[in-house]
Symmetry: D2
Subunit: 366 residues, 4 copies
């Protein structure tokens, strides 16, 4: 079948570069004479049309994607609620039933003469996309997560932007930590993988880096702070991935059980309390959180996004389906969904970046 | 008396541009044939010499200040503890007595043949400096606070850097707020004055700006969020100065008394809880705090710092004492300590920047 | 007369912040219930309607100005050709006659029920605007020039952005000049005034700064390079305003008459040739030129532009005409065109920034 | 043999990240108990000791490399003159004889008990380093060229920084080109390979990219400009690598023979003249040149440099010699000099980045 029209959607959390992917895929599609549509807010533009008086599916023209390459966010909107495969429908008794609305989405695609889908998203989005593939509808995926923990690609777009901003923040805290003789804790994203913490921590010359892949001993971290103190370095910077865990499994903070609410403190807060207690040094926490998701993509991410976007269109044009584009050895290749879905790519414990950190005197608390 | 040797110190919180002031004043002093000394960590380099085996007062040479113009922090260190006019001394019964160590500092200056002091600091530092002036020792001050709330100067160095970074953060949150249909609260420094919140909020096009100078009605802020919702703008950005206060004086958060600890939440956290409750919209808080103090100064701040630093030396050379350099109508002038000490410069309620915010549709909650 | 509709135009060279001025004035006008129109490409949208099939005057709505605050350039376009007061019309014999098309423009304004004009531009644009004022049509001007040489305002928008980028470039050249033992010449804009060269040169710690206000001796500049050489500093950075002139009036380069073409070299090229000849050191030139006009405005310029834009609307609303908004002592005020037109504001020779440069050991070649 | 002391040198042109490599290798070496020396200005610190009264070989301690990670340039200095294998010695008759001073350098290493060399440089530096390897002296190389054209590594440090700055410059020119209806030519480094032009051109959305690997037809480029004109896009951005060549081999500019001097114009100037002639549109050139070499490395380059630096030390510790560290599939590996020396890695003509450019509608003039 020859493609004449495609839909594009973006799902899951924001990542710098999304708009560049959209623009690149739209231009590549238009150049082939295809029509392009954008689905708003994940699949909500179709699933909840009542929310979109101006249309939940919008034509993507050359004019519509002009000048968006460097803009953060996504012109299509995104969402991480309302998975169409497990869509919650309220019952008469107030309970919720989950239904699969994949066929409904496909019906809509057919109704609009859409021949294929270009799905930009993380692991969850690719799983949804696979439901269409199984039903015979062509889909090519573009991997998106600033956490960089997707299988099938050496790097995801948005990661370099997140690492760059986190590094800039570490730089900023360095000078104030040094001037004020403090311990500064920087909590960054990374629930399951420590890529951002590792890369930003090494680039920003942290003193300790705590990542999910390497359970830490809080005593060893405190020791590092004390050792520095004794050689006249009266400050320390500790980068903590939100998923970092102590090696004894104890994540309680003295006098308070943790986890009551996200706001009572995550990994960074926990580490800060303990370090302050163990070392007696004034310790402050900065949670970068949402700041890492927004903003202008770095040049690296802009280029990667443009490459991913056009490559996905080339893959569709070549008849590929059920694959995701990915980067391997500086070139783009296609990887079957089945090779990547449900897998998580953590930092390899013997990667040279880990070795680099150790050679620079950075501790992981192990 | 002709000056042949001066000391320089930096007190209070960090501000981008401190090192540029130091470098400029050192070069300007050396060019006049003076010697230059730097006192470490406020006055600690003299008051607690046992902490500085390599010397608490260090010679500042051309080589020592090379390449520091753009570095954040201060090569001299700083402190906001141990005010020498009220220095805490532990008594045999464990209680503390406050003593005035100003004469002791002067003795040290005389012992080292130091003829004058260039004091870089905020309101507190200038008060200390004034004690020397009253004792006949020449001092010229350089105003320092990223909050921009000092009297006697239209702008302080570090302020432009803080506003620029805060604006960048607002930009970043914009895209993710819009993509995710959220309310984002950005808390910035400003305990008594709302300069940073106002300038960053206008530059970053916030929807509401809460500053100490204008007590807010939380209902009006919530109304703004709801109004936007109804015109299809499913997100809002609210910038909150840490000293922002509601007009009914009620700063409790439902189910929890506030102020137990800084970490349980300041002004931003409080506003977030209430907005979420009043509007039902997902609301997140980002506290910029220490990120605003560090980092490379903007070009504006670099230049202003260099101008302040050399101007302070020119003032000393001209026999001035008990004055602070300040900016007025784009030129440097000297202002007597007595005109500025103990005063706080808030945002004028009818300044054109306030009018600009209102004209752009930004609410102050009043 | 109560205003119900205004037109906005931008004239002359580009400046970062133009779009922020446009957005601010449009929002401020819409908030007052006014209609807003934008004239494209200076006055070309009216004077040459045949070039604009979609309309040379476009309605400016809230949507049209969304998200443009931080964009460089101007959504209206600009031009520095075809002054409507001296508009060239080709005659049958091939010669050109200049005619005044001011009345024609006014007719068009009346035809569209436009009650007032908000003119954003430099000295030339204000002169044109004044022709409308003289004919009784309300106009408020917003000063625009990255050169910062306009009378009636302490600073123009775009200047801080230009200085910041120039300083970043000087920083970049510093490291490579030092590593390679070279003299680097950086030519920046400033035909009649040396503001950019002075501010960027001081902030970037140049070794010499050549500006139109201070004729230079090339021998003194060469001496500076040689003096540095002898103290082990094997490189020098010289910032040259394009209008810098030697004190002997001789601007020839050995073996070649200058001025054949802009590309054969301006002030920077000339200085480079002579320095290389006098010192024997490898000397390279970088001409920043157009790079200074484009790009995202700094936060300072964003805010200043937003303030200028809304202030101009407030001035129109208050019945002002024939005035330009300007910054004085950190607040906006209105200045009559007659006080500013045809005047050029150079760097005062005894301004503290000049003194700062001298105190830092920077030479002006005088 | 167990290593106890190493020397480090940097050769060839500047690249952002050099200091990060130095710092990383020094820390990694010190952590192993080794001593570290830095040779100043390539090998000049040894070959011309009379120029270095304070020593041409300096001890590299922890303090010496503190805080340099983000600084541009190299604290060791560099040079691309005076190849020690072909060292020019003036004869009594005024002629020059080339001699090989490799043995002399080795003697010096032995005299100082230096056991191995860590050579940071481009193809030329690696060739010199190989002379030591052939004489049995252990050497590990770190690839350095912002041009990214070295064999044996997917990317070199400094490249991302150069591309990022070039992209920012293209962004800046975009807005001013559009506002002023001009053709802007941006000339970037790349004498033999078009990596910088390609990456920056795609990321910055140029309209045409001219690289050495794809000879261009000037008529096709002019056609692109004209085509855009006719669809209402009255400006174009053309990125030109300095080594770009027309497919007819004619590099003369009308009325002037080219190549008299670098300053009379390189590839960018040539293209500008011809485009202006063929299209009649105002065309301006910006030569980025030296601006690309200096400045703070991007976070990507900082991290890559730190990884390269420590990996080189690990390689030495593991007994490797005659190898260069390189990046392959996101991990560091070692590559024999013999596999990389004298080879140049150009842009593969069918790389996905080339395909991306074409899909985005960018022309290469082929």
């Amino acid at each position: 079948m020859s493609i004449q029209s495609i839909a594009i959607n973006t799902g899951g959390g924001d990542a710098p570069g999304l708009n560049a992917v959209i623009r690149a895929s739209v231009l590549a599609a238009l150049n082939r004479g295809w029509k392009c549509y954008g689905i708003r807010d994940g699949y909500h533009g179709i699933l909840m049309p009542e929310l979109y008086p101006d249309g939940g599916i919008i034509p993507l023209t050359k004019d519509r994607v002009r000048g968006i390459t460097h803009l953060g966010g996504t012109i299509l909107g995104t969402t991480n609620r309302g998975n169409p495969l497990h869509y919650p429908v309220e019952q008469s008794d107030g309970s919720y039933l989950e239904i699969n609305r994949a066929d409904e989405l496909l019906d809509k695609f057919h109704e609009l003469n859409i021949d294929a889908l270009l799905a930009i998203g993380g692991d969850g989005s690719l799983t949804i996309a696979n439901a269409f593939v199984e039903r015979g509808f062509p889909v090519v995926g573009v991997p998106k997560t600033i956490d960089n923990d997707l299988f099938g690609t050496e790097v995801t777009f948005g990661f370099d932007s997140a690492v760059s901003f986190a590094t800039e923040c570490i730089d900023r805290l360095h000078s104030t930590a040094e001037s004020h003789h403090r311990v500064m804790i920087v909590e960054v994203m990374g629930r399951y993988a420590g890529w951002i913490a590792l890369h930003a921590g090494v680039a920003g010359t942290a003193d300790a880096i705590l990542i999910p892949e390497i359970p830490y001993s809080i005593e060893k971290i405190a020791q590092k702070v004390t050792d520095r103190e004794q050689t006249g370095r009266h400050f320390s910077i500790i980068v903590v991935a939100e998923g970092a865990k102590p090696n004894d499994g104890d994540i309680s903070i003295i006098g308070k059980s943790v986890g009551q609410s996200e706001r009572l403190g995550g990994a960074g807060e926990r580490v800060a309390k303990q370090i302050e207690q163990l070392t007696g040094k004034e310790t402050r926490v900065v949670v970068l959180g949402h700041l890492l998701r927004g903003g202008t993509p770095t040049t690296f991410d802009r280029l990667l996004s443009l490459r991913f976007g056009t490559a996905a269109v080339r893959a569709l044009a070549a008849g590929e389906t059920g694959v995701m584009v990915g980067l391997e050895s500086s070139e783009i290749r296609c990887v079957p969904f089945s090779d990547v879905a449900g897998k998580m790519r953590g930092v390899p414990l013997h990667s040279d970046t880990i070795l680099t950190a150790r050679d620079l005197g950075i501790t992981f608390g192990d």
